[in-house]
């Protein structure tokens, strides 16, 4: 069983919103100070989903990411969690891609890997909040896909997947090879285990440039974008927060109730 997991490093989504500002010349969000990069939380759960299958049935788990100058500590987290291999699609040509160009590059890399039964992605990235790359990879590879899964069971060349819906879940059976995107209802991802560390230290990422996966420069990164970003801005709330005060905290709380009643909110 061969499983490919797609991962992305993102600016830590636990960062307070006011730690960011807009670099309007480049239409990019930047930290006012240094902001930590972490593995996209949904991708951590994608790794977890793959490792649960590996624990049960045995599997080779390959993590893959795309970008430029990726953080080696962040991208290696899946290996410390128990993945067997890490492939980084990394060169300037991959920079500033959108869902389309990212999915295109990863699909080309998976084709080059050749052996795969299951591709697992997080349901969306914490930065772009798009939820398209997994679906795009499936479409480029001609695979069926199930999105927003909380459970994946593999048997007899099929996967039985619980897909989360607005009021419960659906049970979906899909032929392998297939692609599944996972959601947080899958449950907590494991912490990197001590026994993995020695092995993980030995595993070095395989780095492929866009020429290594045989994709045209005009389909990679910024040049391959389909979405045109016109503007990035920080929403400004009209009127500042009204801090309700009082002689005592109790009075402040009572005043809050009065203010909300007066504004017809309560």
């Amino acid at each position: 069983m061969n499983i490919v997991v797609c991962i992305k490093e993102v600016l830590d989504p636990e960062t307070p919103t006011d730690s960011f500002s807009i670099d309007s010349a480049n239409n990019a969000l930047v930290g006012k100070g240094k902001i930590a990069k972490v593995l996209n939380p949904f991708d951590e759960q994608a790794v977890e989903a793959a490792l649960r299958i590996k624990d049960k049935l045995g599997a080779k788990v390959t993590a893959i990411s795309v970008g430029k100058q990726m953080d080696r500590v962040v991208t290696k987290k899946p290996v410390f969690m128990g993945a067997d291999e890490l492939i980084l699609l990394e060169d300037e040509g991959f920079a500033d891609g959108d869902s389309w160009s990212t999915a295109y590059a990863i699909a080309a890399a998976i084709r080059k890997i050749g052996q795969y039964d299951l591709v697992i992605c997080g349901r969306q990235a914490a930065d772009s909040n798009a939820g398209q790359v997994g679906i795009g990879i499936a479409e480029f590879l001609g695979l069926p896909h199930v999105s927003v899964a909380r459970k994946i069971d593999v048997f007899d060349g099929k996967a039985r997947v619980e897909r989360v819906t607005c009021n419960g879940y659906e049970t979906v059976e899909v032929d392998l090879p297939a692609l599944v995107t996972v959601t947080n209802e899958l449950g907590q991802a494991r912490y990197p285990a001590i026994q993995n560390i020695r092995m993980a230290n030995k595993i070095q990422p395989t780095v492929w440039k866009h020429t290594d996966i045989d994709i045209e420069a005009n389909r990679a990164g910024k040049q391959g974008r389909r979405q045109k970003l016109l503007k990035l801005f920080q929403p400004v709330r009209e009127g500042a927060c009204e801090i309700v005060e009082g002689e005592t905290l109790q009075e402040a709380a009572e005043n809050l109730a009065l203010v909300l009643r007066k504004a017809k909110i309560l």
Partner: protein
């Protein structure tokens, strides 16, 4: 030549889904700006009747693919159906709800048509003949405005973002389309669909949410939040930290990795305002924050705030609300 605004309509409990009325409302604004019409396409089992209702909400043309095999959403069956409709009708824009089906169907169709789609939009407008799509990114720390040069422009739209269409007397046409399953057997089947009962009001339906974070300190504190929620006929939400610590079940998590909510009133207690949490609640009509740290970032997003210990504030606030009646 591409023209008109097409929406992907959905039926829930035998009626037009709320999101579909919202899409019809939004599509009407766009179509009027273009001087074009609104079309609605419905795919499913037993949807033809309720779909006709879309006429009363401003659809000039309704297309239905109704077949028992389409009872559950399945990309393997739905995507070819919708692709055939879109290729025949050549709409300028295609809009989906960012729903269980729409969030999957929209991107899948886009990739299959080799076109771009922008997902989870909260605002749409027209510039010339181009669709301008606004959506929150970086967990709500920023908004991005996108467009595309592709001939068919597509978006999925977040629930409760567009103003729903009112009943009108525009009488559109209704055209059933035959379901033509492909040659090959679908590689995927939906075995069953289960509704899981949750106690009380569901987060996404609640008009009032009383939410707690790290500052609540443990599961006991959430019992107090439940009291207030009950009083205001709302429900309790929680931040990621509170759920990760097991103080609240993950079903109650508000945020990027939880539920995205837009209640009339969101009361945030002991929540500092991490971007991943704010993306889940920043579209609430009114946000009230209580935090002992006057510099907590949540006060930059809140409409009303009290600086102080949440528990003292909650008790006095509840007593006052009861006293006011």
């Amino acid at each position: 030549m591409a023209k008109d605004v097409m929406i992907y309509g959905e039926v829930a409990d035998g009626q037009l889904a709320a999101i579909t009325k919202e899409l019809l409302g939004g599509a009407r604004v766009l179509a009027d700006a273009l001087g074009e019409e609104v079309a609605a396409v419905f795919i499913g089992g037993g949807i033809a009747g309720p779909a006709r209702e879309a006429r009363a909400f401003g659809a000039n043309k309704i297309l239905t693919v109704d077949h028992p095999r389409l009872g559950f959403y399945n990309a393997e069956l739905y995507v070819p159906c919708l692709k055939a409709v879109v290729e025949k009708e050549e709409p300028r824009f295609v809009l989906f709800g960012h729903t269980d089906a729409g969030a999957d169907l929209g991107p899948t169709l886009a990739f299959r048509l080799d076109t771009a789609i922008v997902t989870d939009c909260t605002d749409l407008s027209v510039d010339g003949k181009r669709l301008i799509m606004t959506k929150p990114v970086y967990g709500g720390a920023a908004m991005a405005i996108f467009t595309s040069d592709d001939p068919i422009q597509m978006a999925t739209v977040r629930l409760k973002s567009l103003t729903p269409a009112e009943r009108t007397d525009v009488e559109g046409t209704v055209a059933p389309i035959d379901f033509a399953p492909g040659e090959t057997a679908p590689r995927m089947k939906v075995l069953d669909k289960v509704a899981e009962e949750t106690e009380g009001v569901k987060l996404e339906d609640a008009e009032v949410i009383v939410s707690g974070g790290r500052g609540i300190g443990g599961p006991e504190g959430f019992k107090d939040l439940e009291e207030l929620a009950k009083l205001l006929k709302g429900t309790v939400g929680a931040s990621r930290v509170a759920c990760d610590n097991g103080w609240m079940p993950s079903t109650q998590q508000v945020g990027l990795t939880g539920t995205i909510v837009a209640p009339k009133l969101y009361i945030a207690l002991g929540i500092s305002g991490a971007s991943q949490h704010m993306t889940g609640c920043s579209h609430s009509k009114v946000i009230v924050a209580v935090n002992k740290d006057p510099n907590a970032p949540i006060f930059r997003e809140a409409h009303y705030g009290v600086v102080g210990d949440w528990k003292a504030v909650l008790t006095a606030f509840m007593n006052k609300v009861i006293a006011m009646g």
